[in-house]
Subunit: 308 residues, 2 copies
């Protein structure tokens, strides 16, 4: 029997309103766990997927397959893996379910390869899982799932991940409705072209949000949490969205929006007490609209993927 | 005779590659000076424009006219002004010539109005000069000319100006060719629609540049100084541009690009010695291409508009 290791990687909220495809943050829970055993078969074998019965164990159809395959190829070895995945994050929920499994697999394999790769390189491998899951190798979930904290994908080519400062009082509420939105469908709703004026508004807010994170200016963060690109197109996909957003802001949230491509909805708050009030007001909306959901409250997680 | 005051406002470099219409910084020189005398005539009279013989003294055709008119209207008074403008900045050079006169006029009038307005409100008034000069009320030059330092226009509506951190070793070289580019012409070259992918690359860099300014990470600043929006369309308008950019980067500049809508070209460097080498290499290109020019080297100016 080969060496084995068990790694968890957290759920993540990507886009953060203004930062479509570039910004994301990690939360403490939920998370996925991946257990890897290094073998000499050259094959990737998924022995079990716990906590979810809709994902394929065929490594060509599960995100861990292309991630591990890319790493084995980059190492130039004939290694294989036996894999057990424990899904804490419901697939298609918009909090980086595929990203967390991809990140955990990449992190675990790297430990078995004696840390041959940097965290930034692991982002590149984990993106292969995103490519399989959504048809688009985006990094705004895998980067925070691996690094923790709040990350910026400054560039995709070459890949350049920046860890941003995390203001200490920033708390995150995430409401996961009991429905699924395919990232590929959500991406298809977006306009392929943006008016220059809209793009300028969006990058003004990206600059404002990053400045607010570094200067720990919560009011600047609040003003910057606007989305002129994805939310206008996707809001209709997300059950309870407008009611939750209105109630979150009325309860003092700094901002609220669609997490990734939805249907999860997130809110940022200053302080845990404020976040709790926001979570309760969002939950009331979901109860009154009779939509099943799970709710999470977390500081921005300083930890990314790591050994269990 | 009424109260009078003399104010100077600095030249500015806007856009900074990635931050089209939102980012700008102030340099120590050149600058414009505006002398205002408060009158009770209700008229704006431009008595003299020194250092330039191409600008109109008609207040309907000179940027100070709409700036002062807007402020008088906002005050609800019947005041007038006698104005003397001293142009240190050549019009149409791309370093905020109209913005500096507009900023100086707004700042001076505000002093005569006993600081009735905040600096942010003065940006709004000074934008009226930009509207006259270029047909577009942009704020990315007037904001740094008023505030000094490096500014972000997070939002135009409502107007929201953010002063960003200035890394202490950041130096600016500006080469002003002896030619003119009309901002209105340069704006007309831009695509009105951007591919989403291009917009994502641009706002990734805006986030990276702002993060680099706060974390004083000069290598991150270097990587973020890319422009996928304006430079590809405008470079051909700017004499000597590609040669200067290549030589600036080869001489160690962090980045180089078109200042505003050109024809000035700027480079950012880490440290004064590096900036000097960059200035010399850019100057050699202009000499070899037989294009007349002026060259300036400055730290980012911490001072914006102020009393002379």
């Amino acid at each position: 029997m080969g060496r084995s290791i068990r790694v968890k990687a957290p759920a993540t909220v990507s886009n953060l309103n203004c930062g479509f495809d570039v910004l994301g943050l990690a939360i403490n829970e939920p998370f996925d766990t991946v257990e890897l055993e290094l073998t000499e078969t050259g094959r990737i074998e998924i022995d079990d997927i716990r906590g979810c019965n809709t994902l394929s164990r065929d490594p060509a159809e599960n995100v861990v397959g292309p991630v591990l395959r890319a790493m084995v190829t980059a190492m130039g070895v004939t290694a294989g893996f036996r894999v057990i995945i424990e899904k804490g994050i419901h697939p298609g929920s918009g909090v980086g379910s595929s990203a967390a499994s991809s990140a955990a697999a990449a992190y675990a394999a790297n430990l078995l390869f004696d840390n041959a790769f940097s965290l930034s390189e692991l982002v590149g491998f984990a993106m292969e899982g995103e490519r399989l899951a959504s048809g688009s190798a985006h990094a705004d979930n895998v980067a925070p799932s691996l690094f923790g904290g709040i990350t910026l994908v400054r560039s995709y080519d070459p890949l350049d991940i920046v860890r941003l400062n995390v203001p200490p009082e920033l708390f995150v509420v995430v409401i996961l409705p009991d429905t699924e939105v395919k990232t590929s469908v959500a991406r298809g709703l977006l306009d392929r072209q943006l008016p220059l004026e809209t793009a300028v508004r969006q990058w003004g807010n990206v600059g404002g949000l990053v400045a607010g994170l570094y200067s720990e200016d919560y009011e600047l963060i609040r003003r910057s949490l606007e989305d002129f690109v994805a939310e206008p197109r996707r809001a209709g996909l997300v059950p309870g969205f407008s009611g939750m957003k209105i109630s979150a802001l009325a309860s003092g949230a700094l901002g609220a929006g669609i997490s990734g491509s939805g249907p999860s909805v997130f809110a940022l708050s200053r302080g845990e007490a404020s976040a709790r009030a926001v979570m309760e007001s969002m939950s009331r909306v979901m109860h009154s609209e009779r939509i099943g959901f799970k709710a999470y409250l977390s500081p921005v997680s300083s930890r990314g993927a790591g050994i269990c």
